[in-house]
């Protein structure tokens, strides 16, 4: 690409990149938080709530992200939910990611040996402290690879937000390529960009994993 093209579209691409990273980080944090709440509610809540959340998980995991976005962004106004593209996209990412994170946390809880919870009960630690001090840290450690893995998947899902006109990197790249007719080059660079991003995140994830598991015996 010539320098002039970059000069012209550089700021736009940069803004798109910023929005991509923002969507990814905010979407990951929000959906992880919602997922954790769902997993805790399933573990400690009443049975009817458990069923309700189970249904939520199945429905969201059984439908494409794109269709969820359409329901939210184009269908929302019919029931009074009028959102701009970016907030709609963020809400969509949060809803979409939460059941996957909930399942990851659930299996993380399952991986904590029951004896360690019982040991805490035996010395009389109150239940909320057990959750906070024993269950959560141990579950987080064993769930970490899956958490990193899913946040990588979310990185890639952010490009779908471009379809509902969130001005992230994919959107800006397509805009640039329709104006400059450099479709192939633009998408090739975009692919390389995501490849690099995903490889970097997974590498950082592996390093983080090695760090937090350094005290844990591997079976």
């Amino acid at each position: 690409m010539e320098l002039s093209v970059l000069q012209q579209y550089g700021p736009m691409l940069l803004r798109g990149f910023g929005i991509t990273v923002f969507c990814w980080l905010a979407g990951t944090v929000l959906s992880m938080a919602l997922g954790l709440m769902i997993a805790l509610a399933q573990r400690y809540g009443p049975r009817w709530l458990n069923w309700l959340l189970r249904a939520y998980i199945e429905v969201i995991r059984g439908t494409p992200f794109l269709v969820q976005l359409f329901v939210l962004y184009y269908g929302g106004p019919l029931v009074g939910l009028r959102l701009d593209a970016l907030p709609a996209g963020l809400l969509g990412l949060t809803v979409y990611g939460s059941p996957y994170f909930a399942e990851i946390f659930r299996s993380g809880f399952g991986a904590v040996p029951h004896g360690q919870i019982e040991a805490a009960r035996a010395v009389g630690i109150p239940e909320p402290s057990i959750v906070r001090r024993i269950l959560l840290p141990l579950a987080l450690v064993s769930a970490l690879p899956a958490l990193v893995n899913f946040s990588i998947i979310l990185t890639k899902e952010t490009v779908i937000l471009s379809i509902i006109t969130v001005p992230e990197l994919m959107y800006q790249t397509q805009r640039m390529s329709t104006e400059t007719f450099r479709y192939l080059e633009a998408n090739f660079v975009l692919a390389l960009f995501f490849w690099g991003l995903v490889e970097t995140i997974s590498r950082l994830g592996r390093r983080l994993e090695a760090r937090v598991t350094r005290h844990i015996e591997r079976g």
Partner: protein, 215 residues
């Protein structure tokens, strides 16, 4: 107001369009299985070059969003002089993308086989080809079935993205329907229900397979 009538009316045309959703995902997984075997064999082979190419293949396809891969393919094909219908290009892209994940599924299944089984076969004098055909592959295929069903579910969802390149499958059809009826909520919810129905059936199939394997 939410119109039940519009919601129900949307089902028949959308369900009909869903045949392309099934077509893209089933052909996609079939192609993915074929390419996946080759990639898996490359990654397990003795040749360093083959292992490197296999690893690069998997890393690229898993690192780049499918939507970007689709656009890349659609802009690349005319440049290198290949003229195929969009449906073919879409299926090929989905299949290539799936091959990366499927090769990893198979690599995992083969890695999970206890090494002693191969040794026992070697100890009675079986050759490598026989060991692969009679001991490793039958077990790896069976072991990976639930994961492959899961991959198919992912593809059914991912196939919604081929709407972007103009394939009139479930998502594209619901966009058209929403535009003509001005009732996006009902129409998209109906589409979501159809996706959900397909995937719940597939998930049940996966559970059944897993249950049968456990015996």
């Amino acid at each position: 107001m939410f119109s039940i009538q519009t919601f129900l009316d949307a089902f028949v045309p959308l369900a009909w369009a869903a045949r392309y959703t099934l077509l893209v995902s089933c052909l996609g997984i079939a192609l993915g299985l074929v390419i996946g075997v080759v990639v898996c064999a490359m990654r397990l082979s003795g040749s360093r070059l083959a292992r490197g190419i296999g690893a690069l293949w998997v890393s690229f396809l898993r690192g780049v969003p499918l939507l970007v891969q689709l656009l890349l393919m659609f802009y690349l094909l005319p440049v290198i002089g290949i003229d195929v219908p969009p449906l073919v290009a879409a299926v090929v892209t989905v299949g290539i993308c799936a091959s990366a994940y499927i090769s990893e599924i198979w690599r995992g299944a083969i890695g999970a086989l206890p090494g002693g089984q191969t040794e026992a076969a070697q100890a009675i004098g079986m050759g490598p080809a026989t060991i692969w055909r009679r001991i490793i592959l039958p077990q790896a295929v069976v072991m990976s079935l639930p994961a492959l069903v899961n991959e198919l579910i992912l593809l059914v969802k991912a196939s919604s993205l081929v709407s972007v390149v103009g394939i009139l499958e479930l998502t594209r059809a619901s966009q058209a329907q929403a535009a003509t009826t001005f009732r996006p909520l009902e129409v998209y919810l109906a589409a979501a229900c159809i996706y959900l129905a397909i995937n719940l059936c597939l998930a049940a199939l996966g559970r059944w397979l897993e249950h049968r394997m456990a015996i």
